[in-house]
Every structure is written in structure tokens, then in C-alpha cells.
Amino acid sequence: MVTRRDIGKLFAGALLGATLALPALAAEDKLPASMDKPGGFPERPLNMIVPYGPGGGSGQVSRAMIQAFTELTGVGVNPDYKPGGSGIVGLGNYMAAPADGYTVLEHIDDATSAYVSGSSGVNPASDLVPLVISQITFSQIYIRSDEDRFSDWATFVAWAKAQDGKATIANVSREGSMERINLKLVMDHFGFDLQQISFDKGGPRYGALKGGQVDALFEQPGDVRGFLDSGDFKPILTLLKERPAAFAEVPAMGDVGLTFEPLMRFRGFYVKKGVPEDRLEWLQWAFQKAYFQPSYQAYNKTKFMDLIDSFRDTAGAVELINQTAEGYKAVYKEMGLIK
């Protein structure tokens, strides 16, 4: 019988050959300063379908990107928020729009895991063309700063083991989501169980930790920055191989003996396959160049997106998506979610 521990090992093995490269150095801007509009394209504002609500991480990153894009090109972009079904509804709607380059899509790593699990039929690496990936971030586990039952990762694990599965952690959990798989691999390694409690909206999720309804929280640092700055929450584990400078005090995976490749959250911008070549080239230039605009860089910094290299051009994005897909595939197979 395959145990949970084996799954962890298997998953680690599956990614061993295709290690997700996370260079510490930031990408350089090698793009030309300007580019002619091909045949007058675009002659009117673009539409951007954002398959999440305006307040969440995707809504925010799309507005920051739109601002930088418009500063750069003078072309407006109308955001069109279509939340629902973990991003699948907006994606389906996007696929119905004509492939003329006037409609672009924002999406996150969920598009990849949904494709692998079969809940979406769109492969973001081949049915879509990634224009740019502009945010790549890691997860952490947080506790309250004034917590007195445990104070760091080691004491948390010891305490959680003693609770016999009754310790609780808040996260967003769809079956097979990035959050759940990362956490599962951590728990398997240490041989303890946490009761995961799913909160689909950020506010209640953070409120649950702050108000003492749950014992810990699984989240990305950019999303809880306010609580970190106020000193309400503190991270006790960073799901990265090595400690990033901003969290030098917090143990990373290498420090606690975790060897699997962590699944990352990434957000980027896409168009449909089939957009005329010259338009595509212009859009690629504009979105990648916008990433390097000072306004966008400043935004990324506030979200801790400068700690690891957040930039991928089209080829880099395809590679990232394919690697991520392989990782999910291996775990899903073992969990029996796919055949």
C-alpha cells in the first residue's frame, strides 16, 4: 500500500529532474524601449478578463499591470472581473472571445492544476500563449505573535502532534489545490495531522487566526503583509529551499529537513492561441516591458514579489507551467484524483 510518506517522496522524485529554477537575481530588462503598433493595432482599448474578484490578488495585480501597460503604450485596458469556480468560469468565458488580440486574460497557477485534474479543458501552456508571468511567490505558515502554546516551527510541530489531529490551520482548500498539496507534503514528512479549515475569502481567513478560531494559517506573505507589519502574525516556516532575505529569521525547508519541491503561486497574463503573429509580438513586448515599469516594480515590492525572481517571458512561462503540471500530475495520480 502506498503511504502518504511515499507520495511525498514520489513527488519529490518527480520534480527532481525538472527542478524549478528560482534564481536569486532579478530578471533584466533587455527589451527595446519602443515598438511600432502593427497595422495600427490596437486602435481601441483592450479588455482584460480577470477570473477572480476585484479585491483579491488577481484583481490587484491586473490593475497594477494595466497601469504600467497604459503608462507605457498609451492604450487603455478595461478590466472585466468574472469570478467563480476557482477561475474556471472566467477562463471558459475568455475562450469564447474572438482571438483578435483585443481580449487578454489574467490567470494564476490554478489554471494549470485545473487542467491537470480535468476540471478545465484549457491547457495554459498550449491553448493559451503566456505574454508574461509577473508574480511568483511562495507560501508560509503563520501563527499569532502572542501565541503562548508554541512559539516556533519545532514547538508548533510538537504541540500539534500532541493534539492528535485536532490542531487547526486555515487555508483556501479546493481538493488538489496548491495550498493543500504543499501542506500535505509537509505533514507527511513530519508525521502529524492538522485539521485544515477552508476559508474561500481572505478576510474571514485572517480573522480566524487573529481571533483565535484556528491555531495557524497557510498563506502567501504578500497577502498578509498588513498583519505582519502590525505584528499580529508571525511566520514560522517558509516553503522555500532557502531563507529569503526579508525572512532571514524564519526557518526555510532546508532548515527543517523538507526536500520536496514547493509548489508556487504564480500570476500572469495570456492571450488565446491564434492571435495574428504581429499582434502577438507587440502584446508580448508591451506586457513584458510593462513588468519593468517603475510603477509595476514598486507594486510588486509591496507584495514581497521581489524576494524571488517573479519574471517569466513566454518561453519561461511555458516551461514553468509545464513543470508545475508535471508536479501536480504525479501527486494527483498517487492521490487517486486522476488516472
Binding site: A96, E175, Q195, I197, S198
Partner: protein, 177 residues
């Protein structure tokens, strides 16, 4: 004698049937979730059972009432239904159906093309036969909608995904803005 009216029987049948169907379809997602014992089907099934229960109680209460009425030998006061003409019923069906058709067309022929036609058709359906009004009211409503939502608030309404409607919408949008 206790009797239920036809509409009461129909209603009860509707609810029981609805509950039964919903229960059958709940098998599609009847599986435990690793972090939650009651799974995805626990909550809906409780709701379904309560629907069935409430429907049964509704029948029981109607039965009791009609029995009480029968015992008192009160003549059942049937509402004097006004004579319903077939033509009227057809028109009401159209009044209900036309907006559905309009909504279904939004993704195909777009808001901008379909809306004025819909307004005129709806007015005609509701008995407006004076030509100036049939033209004037749609123009007025359409102008207000475009001014408020497109010109002032830049809201992106459906352009329709089918040519030439898609091109017409974009042409109009460029024209207005």
C-alpha cells in the same frame, strides 16, 4: 369529505418530485472530502429531506383544513376565476418569453444591436400601436442606457461574439467614446 384541489396536488407533486430528483443527482458528488466528514453531499441532503418534510406537512395541513371546512359544511368558496381567453394567455407567454430570448441573444448578437429591437418589440407586444411612440420610446431608452453606462461609466456590455454584430458593436463603441 377531505379533498385537495388540483393545484394543491400539483404543488405537492412538484416539491416531492423536486426533492427526489435533487437527491438522485446528489449521488454525483457523494463522496467524503479528506478534511471534512460530511462531504459535499451532507448539507444538500439535509435540505432535501427538510423540503420533503415541509411538503408533506403542507399537504397534511391542507387536508385538515379542507376536512374542517367539509365538517362545517361550508361551501367551498371558489375564487371566481375571470374568463381566461386563449389569446390573452398566449400574449402573456410572449411577455414572459421575449426577455428570455433577448438574454439568450446577448452573447451572440450583442447588447448594442439587440437592445433597440427588443424595446420596440416589447412595446408592441404590450399593446402599443402608435408609430411615434414605438420609435420614440426605444430611441429614448436606448440613448439613456448608452449615455449613462457607455459614455459616462465606460461599462463594457456584451458585444456579441458573432460577426457582423461584433464589428457593429465595436464600431458603435468607438463612435460613442
Amino acid at each position: 369529505m377531505a379533498r385537495l384541489s388540483r393545484s394543491q396536488i400539483l404543488e405537492a407533486a412538484f416539491w416531492i418530485g423536486f426533492a427526489a430528483l435533487a437527491y438522485v443527482f446528489s449521488y454525483n458528488f457523494d463522496r467524503e472530502i479528506e478534511i471534512y466528514r460530511f462531504g459535499a453531499s451532507g448539507w444538500p441532503r439535509v435540505v432535501i429531506l427538510l423540503i420533503a418534510l415541509a411538503a408533506v406537512c403542507q399537504i397534511l395541513q391542507s387536508l385538515r383544513e379542507s376536512r374542517r371546512n367539509a365538517r362545517r359544511a361550508v361551501v367551498q368558496i371558489t375564487e371566481t376565476v375571470p374568463e381566461r381567453k386563449l389569446e390573452d394567455s398566449l400574449r402573456i407567454t410572449a411577455v414572459l418569453g421575449l426577455p428570455v430570448l433577448y438574454a439568450a441573444l446577448l452573447d451572440i448578437s450583442g447588447f448594442y444591436f439587440t437592445t433597440p429591437i427588443f424595446i420596440a418589440a416589447y412595446l408592441w407586444l404590450n399593446g402599443e400601436r402608435r408609430l411615434p411612440w414605438l420609435i420614440g420610446v426605444p430611441v429614448f431608452i436606448y440613448a439613456v442606457l448608452l449615455t449613462v453606462f457607455t459614455k459616462l461609466l465606460y461599462i463594457g456590455l456584451p458585444t456579441g461574439y458573432v460577426r457582423p454584430f461584433y464589428d457593429f458593436s465595436n464600431w458603435l463603441l468607438v463612435l460613442i467614446k
